[in-house]
């Protein structure tokens, strides 16, 4: 289909795709790093029973004690993973 693009129409379409807030974009771009943190915590929990029990007892506190402040989605996924095993 051939479309003709008048200036006004082009302007409207260009306005439609506004940038998402930079902090949202940054958080999404940092997912691979967050994922690595997740994998490291899971691996350690599998190898270290005391750490695993501490995580199950109080996940946020245990992570904070370790100096980790993962994104809440990663925390939710960790919680799910710990409850599965």
């Amino acid at each position: 289909m051939t479309r003709s693009y008048e200036e006004e129409r082009l302007g409207k379409l260009l306005r439609l795709l506004q940038p998402a807030p930079p902090s949202w974009v940054r958080a999404a771009q940092e997912l691979p790093y967050a994922r690595r943190t997740f994998d490291e915590i899971v691996a350690r929990a599998e190898a270290d029973l005391a750490f695993r029990q501490a995580l199950i007892a109080d996940l946020e506190r245990s992570l904070a004690l370790e100096g980790d402040k993962p994104d809440r989605r990663i925390v939710a996924e960790l919680r799910e993973r710990l409850s599965e095993s």
Partner: protein, 186 residues
Amino acid sequence: MTALSTLSDADLVRRCRTGDSEAWSELVERYSRYVYAICVRGFRLSDEDAEDVFQDVFTRAFLRLETLRDGSALKPWLAQLTRHRCLDAIASSSRVEPVEEVAADVGSGDMEEIEEAFAVREAVAGLSDACQDILDRFFAQDQSYRTISHELDIPAGTIASRIARCLGKLRSELEGRNEPAEGSGE
């Protein structure tokens, strides 16, 4: 323009699957406006809901990229993920409007326009860096002539004509893309 920005979606997905975090960053950059537009323009979510959906869509995409059989279908896959999550957000909010009605509403004009806007944005990528920059600042970022003049260090009186020139080039780019391939001699 970076080397990654010229990759096709299929190649970009392939690189992401190898754990290339720069490729992932480009994927987010390429589709962040699209996902955002579906949330706030298509489904008119609040900022809070839109942020949740936005992060959730990219988290799911990141975790499930392996399940996407055809990397070139990245865009419709992301659109579908976003639409589903938007509907979930609406269903769990206190809105009284039935979710089916919202879905039917958004399914028509708004999504079509967002798709068209994405095609226009892809065409913008074929313009010079200067044109890309000034069009994005003026239209997408809603910057005033004064701000553009200050930030790009160009006379304010020339901005309107620069925008008009870049729009002309964009129109040519789009019309070139829309011409039937047959008989084009290329």
